[in-house]
C-alpha cells in the first residue's frame, strides 16, 4: 500500500514539474518569439515568413542601416541625449531624494505624487505641452532640449530610487562611525557614500534605459540633428523597409543587453525591481 502511495505521490510531483515546465516555456516563447523573428528578419534574404527559417543569410541589411540610414551617428545622438538626461536627473534627484528619504517633509505624499505626475498622465499629452514650450524657447532639435524633455520622465524614477536608498541608510551606522572617531567628511567618504553607491548606480541605469528607450517625448522634440534610434526605427517602419528596420532594432537592443548583463553581474536585480532596499 505504502509503495503504491509513493508511486502516486511521485507521479503527482512529476506532473507538477511538467506543468511548471510547460508554463515556463510558453512564457519564454511569448516574450522571445517577436524578438527572434526580428533577429531572423535582419539576417535573412527573400524570407517572407512562409518558411520556418530564411532561405539565405546576409549581413546586407546591417550594411544598409550603417551606411544609408546613418545609424552610428544616430546611436551617438541617442547616447548623448541619454547622458544629458541621466546627468540632469541625477543632479535633481540627489538632493530631492535626500530630503524625501532623510528629512521630515510636510506633505511628503503630495510631493511624491507631484514628482510622479509626468509618469501618470499620458506621455503624448505631456509631450505636446513640452513641445509647445520648447518651440518658443528654441529648444527643439537641440541635444539639451531633447535631454530636458527626457528628464521629465527620468527624474521621477531617479528620485524614487534614491529616496528609498537614502531612507534605508541606517542612522546608527553613521553614529557608529562618529563614535569610532570619524568626522563628518570621513564618515561621508568611508561609510555613507559606499553604502548608497549601489542605489545611485541603479538610479543611473534606470534613467539611462528610460531615456534610451524613450519614443513619445523624442517624437515631439527631435529634429534632423537630434534624431534618436527609437525614432529612426519607428520612421523606417513607415518607409516599409522591414529588413533594414529589423537590423536597426537589433542595433537598438544591443546596449540594453549590455546593461542587463551588467545588472545581473554587479547588482542583484531584486534591488532594482520592488524592494529598492538600497544596501
Amino acid at each position: 500500500m505504502r509503495n503504491l502511495a509513493t508511486v502516486y505521490w511521485r507521479a503527482l510531483v512529476q506532473r507538477k514539474r511538467l506543468l511548471g515546465t510547460v508554463f515556463l516555456w510558453t512564457f519564454f516563447l511569448w516574450i522571445t518569439t517577436p524578438f527572434m523573428i526580428i533577429m531572423l528578419k535582419s539576417v535573412g534574404r527573400n524570407w517572407f515568413g512562409r518558411k520556418w527559417l530564411p532561405p539565405n543569410l546576409t549581413l546586407d541589411w546591417y550594411r544598409w542601416a550603417v551606411t544609408v540610414a546613418n545609424i552610428p551617428r544616430i546611436l551617438a545622438n541617442t547616447l548623448i541625449i541619454a547622458a544629458i538626461a541621466v546627468t540632469i536627473s541625477t543632479l535633481i534627484a540627489l538632493p530631492t531624494g535626500w530630503a524625501l528619504g532623510r528629512r521630515k517633509v510636510r506633505g511628503k505624499e503630495l510631493l511624491t505624487s507631484i514628482i510622479l505626475l509626468p509618469r501618470m498622465i499620458p506621455p503624448i499629452a505631456y509631450a505636446l505641452g513640452v513641445a509647445q514650450i520648447f518651440y518658443r524657447l528654441h529648444l527643439v532639435d537641440k541635444y539639451l532640449g531633447v535631454g530636458l524633455a527626457h528628464v521629465a520622465i527620468c527624474a521621477p524614477y531617479a528620485t524614487l530610487v534614491l529616496s528609498s536608498t537614502f531612507q534605508a541608510l541606517d542612522d546608527r551606522v553613521l553614529e557608529a562611525s562618529a563614535v569610532c572617531g570619524a568626522n563628518q567628511l570621513r564618515t561621508f567618504f568611508h561609510v555613507t557614500l559606499p553604502m548608497v553607491l549601489p542605489g545611485i548606480l541603479s538610479s543611473i541605469i534606470f534613467t539611462f534605459t528610460t531615456s534610451y528607450n524613450e519614443l513619445t517625448l523624442t517624437l515631439m522634440t527631435y529634429g534632423p540633428h537630434t534624431i534618436t534610434l527609437p525614432v529612426r526605427t519607428y520612421l523606417a517602419v513607415g518607409e516599409g523597409y522591414w529588413e533594414v528596420t529589423s537590423a536597426m532594432s537589433m542595433i537598438l537592443v544591443i546596449p540594453s543587453f549590455f546593461v542587463l548583463f551588467m545588472i545581473q553581474r554587479e547588482i542583484a536585480p531584486e534591488k532594482l525591481v520592488g524592494g529598492f532596499k538600497g544596501v
Partner: protein, 356 residues
C-alpha cells in the same frame, strides 16, 4: 586624577514638552560597569547619548576623565560603543570593520594589523576576518561590534541594549562574555538596558531610572533587597505591596496595621505613629504554612485562590480577606490546593517600607 571617569552634572534634556532627562547627577567610577536600567522612555538612552555627544544637554555638564566635554563633538570623545542593531558597516569585512577606528586614527599598517587580530582573538572571531557582516549570525555580529568598540582601547565602553536582538540562550552566554571582557580589560563601561535580570547579572552598580530621573543607584543586591521606592521594587523582581498605618513604633521596629491585621516591620528609627506606610515583600520571601493553632507574630490566615505551576517553583495567590491578595512563590516541597486554608508568614526582616 580623580577616581570618577564619567560625570553628569545636573544635565537636563527636553524634547518639546517631554522632559527626557531631569537634572541627572551621575558619577561613574573608573573601571566600573554601571547599568542604566529602566522602562522604555525613562530617559536612559538620552543620558547615554549625552555621554556620546549625539545629544547636547539643554542644561548641565558632561565630564569624561575630568574634562568638560559638553560641547565636544562625538568623534573627538574617544569612546567605544556597541549598538542594539549591531550597526556594523555592511560594505566592510569583519577585519575592515574592526580596523576602522585605527584607520581613522592613521595607525601604521603593521601595528594596526596586530591590534585588529589581537582583538579578534579576544572575541574568538579571528577565523572570520574576511567575512561580511551579513554572513554572520547575530551573536557573531555583536562580538564584532564589541571588537570594533574595543580595538583602540577607548576610555569608556558604551553598550546600548547590546543583547536585545539576540535569542534568550545566546543572550545569557553573551552577558557573561561581556562582563568577563570588561573586567579583564579594566575598562569603564556604561550599559543601558530595560532587562532587570541582565542589569543584576552584569553590573557593579545599577542606576534605576524612571520618567527622566534616577530613582536609585546601588549595587545589584542593594537595588534588589533594599529598594527605596515602589517603582524600583516593582521594576526589579516581583513584589507585594501592602498599604497601612503605623500604630506603634519602638526604635528598630514599627507595627503597621494593614486591613485590620498587624504587621511588624523593621524601621530605621523614622517611624511616626499615624503615618501611612507602603510595605513591600517579595513573593519568595513569604512562607506558606498549614493552619495549626493560633497565628503568631507576622502570621496571617488566608485562602489559596489560584496557583500556577512554574517548574522549579509554584506561584500562589493567597486571599487575605476580601480586598487583600498576596502573591507567594514556594519551592513546591509542601503543596497546597486551590481553596485550601493556609497561613502565610511574612518574616519581619523581609518586610520593608518603601515610598510611593
Amino acid at each position: 586624577m580623580s577616581n570618577v571617569m564619567i560625570e553628569l552634572r545636573d544635565t537636563s534634556k527636553r524634547y518639546g514638552k517631554l522632559l527626557a532627562n531631569d537634572r541627572l547627577n551621575l558619577s561613574i567610577l573608573r573601571g566600573e560597569l554601571m547599568t542604566l536600567l529602566g522602562p522604555s522612555g525613562c530617559g536612559k538612552t538620552t543620558a547615554l547619548r549625552c555621554i556620546t555627544g549625539q545629544v547636547t544637554p539643554d542644561e548641565g555638564q558632561v565630564l569624561i576623565d575630568d574634562i568638560d566635554v559638553t560641547n565636544l563633538p562625538t568623534h573627538k570623545r574617544e569612546l567605544g560603543m556597541v549598538f542594539q542593531n549591531f550597526a556594523l558597516f555592511p560594505h566592510m569585512t569583519v577585519y575592515q570593520n574592526v580596523e576602522f577606528p585605527l584607520m581613522i586614527r592613521n595607525e601604521p599598517q603593521a601595528e594596526s594589523r596586530e591590534r585588529v587580530m589581537e582583538t579578534l582573538r579576544l572575541i574568538r572571531m579571528e577565523s572570520y576576518e574576511k567575512h561580511y557582516p551579513r554572513q554572520l549570525s547575530g551573536g557573531q555580529q555583536q562580538r564584532v561590534g564589541l571588537a570594533r568598540a574595543l580595538v583602540y582601547r577607548p576610555k569608556v565602553l558604551l553598550l546600548d541594549e547590546p543583547l536585545s536582538n539576540l535569542d534568550a540562550k545566546l543572550r545569557e552566554e553573551m552577558r557573561f562574555e561581556i562582563k568577563d571582557l570588561v573586567r579583564r580589560l579594566g575598562i569603564t563601561a556604561v550599559y543601558v538596558t530595560h532587562d532587570q535580570a541582565e542589569a543584576l547579572a552584569m553590573s557593579d552598580r545599577v542606576a534605576v531610572m524612571n520618567a527622566g530621573r534616577i530613582e536609585q543607584i546601588g549595587t545589584p543586591d542593594e537595588i534588589y533587597e533594599c529598594p527605596h521606592s515602589r517603582f524600583v521594587a516593582d521594576f526589579i523582581g516581583l513584589s507585594n505591596f501592602l498599604r497601612g498605618k503605623v500604630v506603634s513604633s519602638s526604635g528598630e521596629q514599627a507595627t503597621v496595621e494593614i486591613d485590620g491585621r498587624l504587621l511588624i516591620v523593621p524601621a530605621a528609627g523614622a517611624a511616626q505613629v499615624g503615618q501611612d506606610w507602603l510595605v513591600f515583600v517579595r513573593p519568595n520571601d513569604i512562607e506558606l504554612l498549614p493552619v495549626t493553632g493560633e497565628p503568631i507574630e507576622n502570621e496571617l490566615d488566608g485562602t489559596v485562590s489560584k496557583l500556577t505551576y512554574l517548574g522549579d517553583r509554584i506561584d500562589y495567590r493567597v486571599a487575605l480577606g476580601s480586598a487583600l491578595e498576596l502573591r507567594v512563590q514556594t519551592d513546591g516541597k509542601v503543596r497546597f490546593a486551590a481553596g485550601e486554608q493556609v497561613r502565610v508568614r511574612l518574616p519581619p526582616a523581609s518586610c520593608r517600607p518603601v515610598t510611593e
